[in-house]
Symmetry: C3
Subunit: 323 residues, 3 copies
Amino acid sequence: MYSLPEQPEAIPYVTSYYEERWGFCLTDNCRKKLKPGQYHVFIDSSLTDGSLTYGELILPGKTEKEIFFSTYICHPSLANNELSGPAVLTFLAKWLTSLENRRYTYRIIFIPETIGSIVYLSNNLQAMKENVVAGFNVTCVGDNRAYSYLPSRRGNTLADRVTLHVLKNLHPDFVQYSYLDRGSDERQYCSPGVDLPVVSVMRTKYGCYPEYHTSLDNLDLISPEGLSGGYSVLKKCIECLERNEKLAVTVLCEPQLGKRGLYPNLGTKKNREIVKDMMNLLAYCDGEHDLLAVAELIQKPVWEFFDLVDQLKQHQLLRVVES
Amino acid sequence: MYSLPEQPEAIPYVTSYYEERWGFCLTDNCRKKLKPGQYHVFIDSSLTDGSLTYGELILPGKTEKEIFFSTYICHPSLANNELSGPAVLTFLAKWLTSLENRRYTYRIIFIPETIGSIVYLSNNLQAMKENVVAGFNVTCVGDNRAYSYLPSRRGNTLADRVTLHVLKNLHPDFVQYSYLDRGSDERQYCSPGVDLPVVSVMRTKYGCYPEYHTSLDNLDLISPEGLSGGYSVLKKCIECLERNEKLAVTVLCEPQLGKRGLYPNLGTKKNREIVKDMMNLLAYCDGEHDLLAVAELIQKPVWEFFDLVDQLKQHQLLRVVES
Amino acid sequence: MYSLPEQPEAIPYVTSYYEERWGFCLTDNCRKKLKPGQYHVFIDSSLTDGSLTYGELILPGKTEKEIFFSTYICHPSLANNELSGPAVLTFLAKWLTSLENRRYTYRIIFIPETIGSIVYLSNNLQAMKENVVAGFNVTCVGDNRAYSYLPSRRGNTLADRVTLHVLKNLHPDFVQYSYLDRGSDERQYCSPGVDLPVVSVMRTKYGCYPEYHTSLDNLDLISPEGLSGGYSVLKKCIECLERNEKLAVTVLCEPQLGKRGLYPNLGTKKNREIVKDMMNLLAYCDGEHDLLAVAELIQKPVWEFFDLVDQLKQHQLLRVVES
């Protein structure tokens, strides 16, 4: 029997693998109420050969290069540390499906943790190594207490760069973990020889809140605000990746903006800011730095430049070097 | 009519480009004294096709490699933010002309800002890209309140290294700006595809003092001390560049200084320091680091090693690997 | 006559090179007791051509690659700043001799400082440049006041990495010097063109304690604790080097530890730590990082992984990529 004396109203979540044994999890209060005596135990379960089932959604894009999302489905009774992942990823998949012009192909999977990702990798490793440019392990995205980032093993992949850029700009007080703190499917995705560029984007990380792995990790713990925060950060990462490319200015020296109609007529503060952003874009788009790197140099969120990039492309002042 | 209510005795400097319009700049006090009524305006000016004139001085040296200086001449009524530049650069040119053995060729230009540098680049870009090893935009070198450095776009060119070395050693409290703070001709010299190694060395930077772009940026603001400070820093940069080279020690292990007459007879504090400097030079001149880098490693101004380098060359203990 | 008014009971250690002169070192108290008058001086010495004698011990290992140790023997009356070096190195040599399976060859020399290392290099440079992977200058390893590290000229050699790892983990309050503070035979071993990976591991560094170069640097200053501390750090460096190699995990994804008998049956805190260490080893041994680098990534002493590496090799989960 497993209970938690310090959390007398919580039922612990205890697992045992690869060994035939059994036990009961219950609240400590319930345990204390049990009267001494003999109990009959009936376990309504069976041990038979089964199969491993997982969900997979491939949304094709203009290129074969892929953005990868993975979430796990093995203990859905826990709310933040599990159900939030499939929930948020389902809505992301719906939104991605609705997009008409996806640049990247999207690979989205719903698997049991650990064994599921290992099985999935054994079926798809070669294609994923060739195509995945950034990947995200989606877990613990339901509560509203923190934003968290756990890097890939190498720590400097495109997935790391875009996640850091988004969190730094949207939620500068986010918690940064180390790969030493890992505990989910990045353990497989980033293992030597697999080495996919996969990070974890979370609200409050597994193992870092008192309700973790107890019956208190329930629907009271998560909230629409919590889930929508997780959803928004991941959506922003996708938007940044879809727009990220290496751009180069097509003219030498600063172009004359006035005769191209790019110089605002009114000298408002907003307009001065737009001109400054435009000049900075033209100063840093050198064909070597991608747009994410340019935005980091300018110290502004990359999404504030999307409209300007469109305008400058229309006027043939920026051209794509590598996308 | 343009005036500054907060600086009632200052006439603002207001410009308008590429549009046919007019206005008057005046002090706010003067404006307040104007009586209501109709005024006749007479603008003693004409709008005709003209030409762009600039000054250029090429001082040949032993190599075709060039040090480049640029200053602007478009609004000389302003003292720190303009006239100081041509003034200091004229004196630097005089001093450079007087040098008998210039290693580098010097390209010195006096141009109108922005349009002048663009025109000059369109005429000389290829030669400059091949030959310029370091360049300096000379502006705001007349007041006596600060020393300032604005890096090149890449930030790690020889011009950046020598300027940082000189300012760190002569004026350790100098103000370091970012390329995001740019506002003068480095905007053209460092633009993608041009990419010349050009920095700005200044006293108080344009835009960073209250008299900027008003009639108060006049001869009262600048001073002999201010101008000579700007002159001295740039001269020191030139001296360091002229002496910078990759040196390698010619013997294995520390040479015996005594039998070469390099060991001072008197054990004074000064002499102990000289021996230490000499041993450090011999320890770090490995043919990989240039003299500037060696001085940074030893944490002393590079000019304190010039005499020692001469001595050690004379005794065949140092040889030039690359100059 | 040389005495130290501020240390009236200390006899200074004064040397003069390459010049025929003489002098007496004595305590300042003794000097003050001397009565005025004429003294007869008898110097029981002779100036004749001699020879330079040094001790050399080569202990062959499985590979020709070498670990190099050097200590000096020119003024053995001083205890910390000299005799401690030969003493500790003698005991290290004894221990090394007793090892049955040395991976590396060991080159151990006892030389007079400066001239001895120069002579030794002139006889052995080529072989040493080819084979030495890490070297240690052993000096001032006798007192019990501090641990000190003086880097090689380049600062990032294997000798630097292992010394920093050992001191950081065993004596985190160790004193880190710069190569600018050098003053012993690393001056020759690290000179340009010689460039051996040699560091100095010390207790209190020469020149940094009041008894230095006086008769007070005697057997009272050093102690069994001091000497054994110096010995232990150097021994630990050797043990880490002998075990350092590039390892790669042989399977993709995390291996199942249970069926290999690698998963502890008891869930004690100690066992959980062991599993964590094992998983971290498997996560970071990617064939690119050597074991020292892996331990730095895991932020634990490398020696805590030696047994685990053996176990994982036995189970064919780790293989040697480069040793």
